[in-house]
């Protein structure tokens, strides 16, 4: 034994009862304090619901929604003009070109056909970023949109590590620059994010929500459709409710032979692509 914790002179004191009044008060006090702290965090002023009103309940995605928002991108049609990239930067207020939510880059197929690859967030049904977020700051809405609570994000960047599509962007520095894409390509419609949080494409969910409230149809009515889809001069991007058989996206998927990026990851993306060239079978 190494511990010599036996203090001297202790055993000379009179015998104590099994549970002294002091002990009782200590236990009662500790229990009381524990109760107060628990209450504080579960239903009190420090509870998830009370803090900035962004409680767990507002983030639950259980149950079915009427809608299932999906996008279609026809790589055969895309001319690589980058309008969708710039419109996104203007609308979602992303001044920094390194932080583009929606990217477009020149590519070449294995058969040597040049094309332009563009990609927003794919809003995966089984989104890795949603699973890994330790605080539930990234969550999937009932209608399938993967969105973020920027007030909850702690900036651990596990979502960036988990996302196989390089979709996520972290605010490494404060974003104070003028937005060079405003007003030519649109006006900011959402608040700019603070330093230290991750951000991502939202399928312009603010437009969808506002449009639905006004009785509009996202994917058909321009005010309710993502900026990148509206601006495309060759209609390479299609948007709509996949649950609605009459929607542009349902028609796009049934009329074309489509694929999704890296289906082998099991992520079930919501963006459907048409190959840049006819597949040789």
């Amino acid at each position: 034994m190494t511990s010599n914790t036996q203090p001297e002179g202790k055993n000379k004191k009179k015998r104590k009862p099994l549970v002294s009044r002091k002990d009782f008060l200590q236990i009662a006090g500790a229990t009381g304090a524990a109760t107060v702290v628990t209450q504080l965090f579960t239903s009190g002023p420090l509870s998830p619901d009370a803090i900035e009103g962004i409680g767990e309940r507002t983030h639950s995605a259980t149950g079915e929604s009427k809608h299932n928002w999906c996008m279609g991108i026809d790589l055969k049609k895309c001319i690589g003009c980058q309008y969708c990239v710039w419109a996104c930067q203007a609308t979602n207020d992303v001044p920094d070109d390194n932080m583009r939510w929606n990217i477009g880059l020149p590519e070449r197929t294995e058969n040597g056909t040049d094309f332009f690859m563009t990609r927003p967030c794919l809003h995966c049904q089984e989104a890795p970023c949603v699973k890994v977020c330790p605080v539930g700051a990234t969550w999937k809405r009932k209608d399938g949109i993967v969105t973020m609570d920027y007030k909850r994000c702690i900036g651990c960047r596990y979502c960036e590590v988990a996302c196989p599509y390089d979709v996520r962007r972290f605010n490494w520095k404060p974003s104070t620059a003028e937005n060079p894409y405003h007003p030519t390509w649109g006006s900011p419609e959402v608040e700019r994010r603070t330093r230290g949080v991750v951000e991502k494409c939202t399928f312009c969910s603010h437009r969808i929500d506002r449009g639905l409230a006004q009785g509009l149809t996202p994917g058909v009515d321009r005010e309710a459709t993502p900026a990148c889809v509206n601006i495309c001069p060759v209609n390479a991007r299609i948007f709509g409710d996949h649950n609605n058989p009459e929607s542009p996206i349902t028609k796009f998927v049934t009329e074309n032979e489509t694929f999704r990026l890296r289906e082998d990851f099991g992520t079930e993306p919501r963006v459907h692509y048409v190959r840049p060239e006819k597949e040789e079978i």
Binding site: T5, K10, P134, V135, C153, V161, W172, L261
Partner: protein, 410 residues
């Protein structure tokens, strides 16, 4: 014994050597603090991290210090649950080293998150589907357990005898040690392996996505944790010219480390064989080829992780003749710690440097990300190491961490 390994310092020189040592660490700590202030003021733009490689040096440091702090739960389990009392003399040092490892990790984590002001969010906002949430909760709870296990040692100091109530409290805590050991064991088994699962569950990154990662993480943590504790114990003994734990105990612990290392190596070799040698998975093969062409991943894996960090120390610690030579033992323990640290770096960076191809084109094929820590990241890491060493040094000087041991005469 060769002069260079004779660390004992003559009595007259000890005071001076102590202050030089503390002075060096103090300077390192101050430099680190300047780095930390820069991080808090300027944000993570001062790092070499990017959206493609969002985790780097500090995450490696977190993982390594948690792994080398694993001696705490290992010895607690051996002493209190398996009831092998002969390991008791090193249990305190293990708890102390564990506490320093975990507090270093939390310090690095607090700097690494973009919003340190929201560090408490995981406690309030639960995402039970996230491995990282589980890790965070376990690490917080386990750190509390370590503090409770360690408090009685602090209160043993003469200084605290002026408050007799503290003594009673600390005795109660001490009696509850087995309970803490049990809780600590459960928490450690959970999070030490979950740290591997942090990477192992990511289906989008082929090189990480395997069920062996959590098991390899916990085995290497046990080996690394025991090594760190034993290494520090031997070094402190040599500096003070004392035999802190009996030679026999030291040999027994060395043997345990050796066997743990063998188990780790066995799994590691099979993991390599199953994922890269006997099978062909396009994602893994692609990533390994990319890593091989742009980084020293393959060389460091075989030379540092397997040979120098695994096979060599295993031979030393399991061979009767080598084990009885303190020089070799220290070398083996040091190599294990280096091996585990390099492993954490390799695991973290491999999946990020070689990202998966998602474009249907061919240009994306050649893109590999890159990362180099900035000076600011490095000085912060040095500062955190200095904190741990300073706390260790003062702890050893003023607290009854180690049994007194016998004076060595030679």
């Amino acid at each position: 014994m060769a002069r260079i390994f004779d660390l004992s310092i003559p009595k007259e020189g000890r005071q001076r050597a102590w202050w030089i040592w503390i002075g060096i660490l103090g300077v390192m700590l101050v430099v680190g603090l300047i780095g930390m202030i820069r991080v808090f003021v300027l944000g993570l733009q001062v790092t070499g991290l990017s959206d493609q490689v969002p985790w780097g040096l500090w995450i490696t440091q977190d993982l390594s210090s948690i792994a080398t702090g694993a001696g705490a739960f290992t010895f607690s389990a051996i002493v209190y649950l398996l009831r092998i009392k002969k390991y008791q003399p090193i249990a305190r040092a293990a708890v102390f080293v564990g506490f320093l490892g975990y507090s270093s990790a939390m310090l690095a984590l607090a700097l690494d998150i973009g919003r340190p002001d929201r560090f408490w969010h995981p406690i309030v906002y639960w995402n039970v589907h996230s491995v990282l949430w589980e890790v965070t909760m376990c690490v917080i709870l386990y750190s509390i357990v370590l503090v409770l296990e360690f408090l009685p040692i602090i209160f043993e100091n003469e200084y605290f005898s002026r408050w007799p109530k503290l003594k009673t409290f600390s005795q109660k805590l001490h009696k509850a040690s087995p309970v803490f050991a049990g809780i600590g064991l459960a928490l450690s088994l959970l999070h030490q392996s979950s740290l591997g699962a942090t990477y192992g569950v990511l289906s989008g990154r082929a090189i990480w996505y395997k069920p062996s990662l959590p098991v390899m993480f916990i085995l290497s943590a046990v080996a690394g944790g025991i090594s760190m504790t034993l290494l520090l114990t031997i070094v402190v003994g040599k500096l003070n010219n004392r035999q802190i734990i009996t030679k026999q105990l030291q040999y027994d612990i060395s043997r345990i480390t050796g066997f743990t290392l063998l188990a780790y190596l066995y799994l590691k070799i099979w993991d390599w064989a199953a994922t890269s040698y006997y099978s062909h998975s396009p994602g893994t093969t692609e990533a390994l080829a990319l890593l091989q062409s742009t980084t020293p991943y393959t060389q460091t894996f075989w030379w540092i992780e397997i040979i120098l960090g695994g096979i060599v120390p295993a031979i030393i610690l399991l061979n009767d003749r080598f084990r009885k030579n303190d020089r070799y033992t220290l070398l083996a323990l040091g190599l294990i710690i280096v091996g585990v640290t390099v492993n954490r770096w390799n695991v973290t960076l491999s999946g990020l440097i070689a990202p998966p191809r998602w474009s249907p084109g061919v240009l994306g094929h050649v893109i590999s990300a890159s990362y180099l820590p900035t000076w600011n990241e490095i000085i912060v890491s040095i500062g955190i190491i200095a904190y741990a060493l300073l706390a260790f040094s003062f702890g050893v000087k003023y607290l009854p961490i180690f049994p007194k041991g016998e004076e060595v005469s030679h």
